[in-house]
Structures are given as C-alpha cells and as structure tokens.
Symmetry: C2
Subunit: 272 residues, 2 copies
C-alpha cells in the first residue's frame, strides 16, 4: 500500500487506529473454546466488529508462534479475513544478517502478504536493507519503544549527546525514503514527538502504548501529526479484551469507537 493510499483511507474513515491482534488463547471468552479454532474465530469476530473504525491490523507474531506450527496457519488465515483496504503489519521485530533477512522478507511479504513488518535495528544497515525495495511494502523500524526497558539502551546518550534512538532514526533515513519506512515510537512520552518530528518530518510513526500502557492520544496527536497524518496509533489489549463474555465483539467495538471518535476530532481540526 502506498503512503498516499494510506493517507486517503485515514481521511475516509476519520481514523488512524491500528488494532493489535495479540490474541492469547488463555484470555479469550470461554464460550469460544467450543469452536474448532477458537483463536481464528475470535480474530474473525474482532475484525468484523472493528473494520470500519480502523485502517490497520497488527498481529503480534509471538502470539501465533507460541501455538506451534498451527499458529502460523491461524496467522495466515487471519490475514485472509482482513479486508484488502486495511494496512496489515506483522509485528515480528525481526533482524538478522543479509541472507537470513531475505528469508524473513520472503516469509512475511511473499508466503504471507503483509504490507509491513517491524524490524529491530541492533544489527544495522545490512540487516534492514533486504526488507526494502518490495513494491508497496514497508519496514517499520523500532526506534523508541513504550516499555520500561527502552531506557536501558535506546535513550543512552552517544558521544555527541544524541540518544541512540535518534541515531537509529537519522541513520536509517539514509537507507530508505518515507515511502517505505516507518518508525515505532511509543506513546508513553508524548513530549518526545516534537523532537522526533524534527528528525523524521515525513515518516509515518506506528505508536503503541495508548490505552493499557498509559499514552495520551490527544497530546501525541497534536505533536506528532504531519501533513499526511503520519500516525498509526495501535491498541491491542484495550480493544481485544474489553469484554470477556459472549458480547466481547460488541465491547471491542465500543472500545475502538472511543479511540476513533477522539481521532475524528483531531482530524477534523487539522484536515476538516
């Protein structure tokens, strides 16, 4: 999907919401366990209930891997249930030497047809390049994550007083244009978005950490939005597990609607 098309979808739906499909069989409503494939059934109902409110879906691959080979089948089938106009992100945080990264690119872009893949930057340029140059496909590079451990290394100052995550963003801007690279920037510190937009004015940012992790949607939107919107704000657990009974999909829709309405207000102010 091109940046322009993603921008168009956002304006059309008045939403830059990404729903994280981090489906844990131990947390889904008990009545689904009677289905042959409870996780797939859960995902299908979540997708049906939220598809008009979001522009993207992001399964975290770990949740599917933990189910063994069958999990990969469920991931592939979940992808088939996502409408074509949605942007699809495999949250896999991969990254390895060149020939191995090519294998991962094959797994997520060819075998399965995700639009984007999250990548960890620690191994540097030749671990990222194999994922670039696939038409309409995206690399989403980890920059500043939303977990406490982001302080261990990502915020460590380099000899020029620049935190590591800024160096990652500046360096990788030399490898790929904003037409094929996004960055993960956690919502937990909205004040960072001002500085981040100086470094990466044009890139889309994938923003986890709104909801359960405590990020402030309005503030980060004001500071982080660019003229293509440039934000995909993800919510996973806050939507998936909003309810735990037979009406879980309805509850999930309500939780998604709260976020979408906040987004509509911001979008109307800026683009209305």
């Amino acid at each position: 999907m091109t940046r322009k098309k993603l921008f168009g979808q956002i304006l059309k739906k008045k939403s830059y919401l990404c729903v994280g499909l981090d489906t844990d069989i131990n947390r889904i409503p008990k009545h689904l366990l009677q289905y042959e494939n409870p996780v797939l059934e859960f995902n299908k109902q979540i997708i049906e209930a939220t598809q008009d409110l979001c522009v993207a879906y992001k399964p975290n691959v770990a949740f599917y891997e933990s189910m063994g080979p069958q999990g990969w089948q469920i991931l592939a089938e979940t992808l088939e249930h996502i409408p074509k106009e949605h942007f699809t992100i495999a949250d896999a945080k991969r990254g390895d030497i060149g020939n191995t990264s090519e294998m991962y690119a094959r797994a997520f872009f060819d075998k399965m047809s995700f639009d984007a893949l999250t990548i960890a930057p620690y191994m540097g340029e030749d671990s990222v390049r194999p994922f670039l140059g696939f038409q309409g496909k995206w690399v989403i590079l980890l920059a500043l994550t939303s977990n406490p451990g982001s302080h261990n290394f990502q915020r460590t100052l380099q000899e020029n007083n620049e935190p590591l995550f800024e160096k990652v963003m500046r360096s990788s801007a030399e490898w790929a244009s904003p037409e094929e690279m996004m960055f993960v920037v956690g919502a937990t510190h909205a004040e960072d978005f001002k500085k981040i937009r100086e470094i990466a004015p044009d890139n889309f940012l994938l923003v986890p950490g709104v909801g359960k992790q405590g990020g402030d949607l309005k503030k980060l939107s004001e500071l982080g939005m660019n003229d293509h919107v440039g934000l995909l704000v993800n919510s996973s657990r806050g939507i998936l597990y909003a309810g735990d009974a037979e009406d879980f999909a309805e509850k999930a829709r309500e939780a998604a609607l709260v976020l979408q309405r906040e987004m509509e207000v911001v979008l109307n102010e800026r683009f209305g």
Copy 2:
C-alpha cells in the same frame, strides 16, 4: 543443559563446534528433492554425519519460517533428530515487551524444547527477563555481531567512550548469571575478544563468522577461551554446503572435521 555439562561435553568430544542448520531448500543437493520432505532429509543426514564432531546445533529460525507453517513442523522434527547430549540453540533473535516475550519463551522452551534462544537487546531489560529462570535454559544475547552493519550502532561510542555492545554486556550481567546467559560475539575481529573477556570473564560466547565470513579460529580461541572453555564456535554454510552432490553429508563431515581438529589442538594445549 548446565554450564558444567556443556563443558564436560566439550572436553569429551574435543570440540566446541556448533553446526548452524541454516537449511535453504534452494541450496540443497538436487537429488534430495525426490524426498517427501527434502529439508528434513538434508538435516537428518547432516546431523548423522557431524554429531560426533560437534557439541551444539543451531537452526536459524528464519530459514524455517520462510517455508510457512510447514517450516515450523520441519524445525520441530529436526530438533527431535538431534541427540539429547547436544546443546540446541534456536537462532531467532527475538525480543519484545514482557507479555510478548513470555509467548516467545513458551514457543521455544515449552512447545519446542530448545536449550537456548538468541535475543536482541534493543528493547532492554524487561524484554529479556521473561526468558530467564527456566531451569537449564539459556538466553544468548546479541552483543557484537559479525556483519558489516555491526558498525552502525553496536560500536557507536557512548558518552563514557564505551561502545554500545560493551554497555549491553555490562548491563545484562546484572540481569542474569553466566549459568543462564551467553553472548553472541562475531569472529570477524579476533582482537575484540581480549576486551570482551575483561567484561564477561565467565560467560559462554557463541561465535559466528568463522569460515565464510573470515574469522580466525586459532586467534579468537587463544584470546577468548576461559576456564570452562567458554566458546561455542558456529559454522553454517561452510559445513552444510561443502558438497552439492550425493556425497554432501560426507563433504560436510570433512569440513566439520577440519574445524574439530583445530579445536582439539587448542583444547589439548589448554586442558590436555
């Protein structure tokens, strides 16, 4: 597997060789394509031909993922063909926020029964801790990798003039003991091993980059060995693809034997 048991295996076999099972269906001998499961057949023959010469096997998970759901089945079946006395490493380079890392731990330590998993450190402490505390299981943290991109961030000097990879090693020593944490240190710069042993005197190091990538086995062994040997030296392509005809397993054995004999000389000098 405990550190003591691994040390014992090394002395018994006079080898600290790890064979990397990075099996690419496009590179295996053509006659294997007649088998129902060519990759598994290749792995079985490689394991049979090399098991007395090595103490560890390390499948790179990317190569199996790239085959879709069936690839995970092949990975699990490959693991079953590895004798119990071998140390098994899933080279997956995972790392995610706490609840997701738990899922990965479940996938590799419970669903499949690997002894160790490689982890990328970029997301910090709470992305690593969920992999710790499994009895007999190991985290192998990326420190200094063998690829050109290791210069992009891993060697970047921090404000105290310490390269990032040293900070990673020093920080993570506070999270886990040498009984459950190893580090990946590439063989391409043997001179680094002296400094690395000052930082991590007791940890095992998993060393890729010998062979195709040009590392010097003798020199890095002299500088990197500790009183538990403390080294697992990996070779993948140099062994797997030593031959491309019906005698590929024999050729793989010959390539492994060259490395094992070099190791035997070093071990006899030090522990003989």
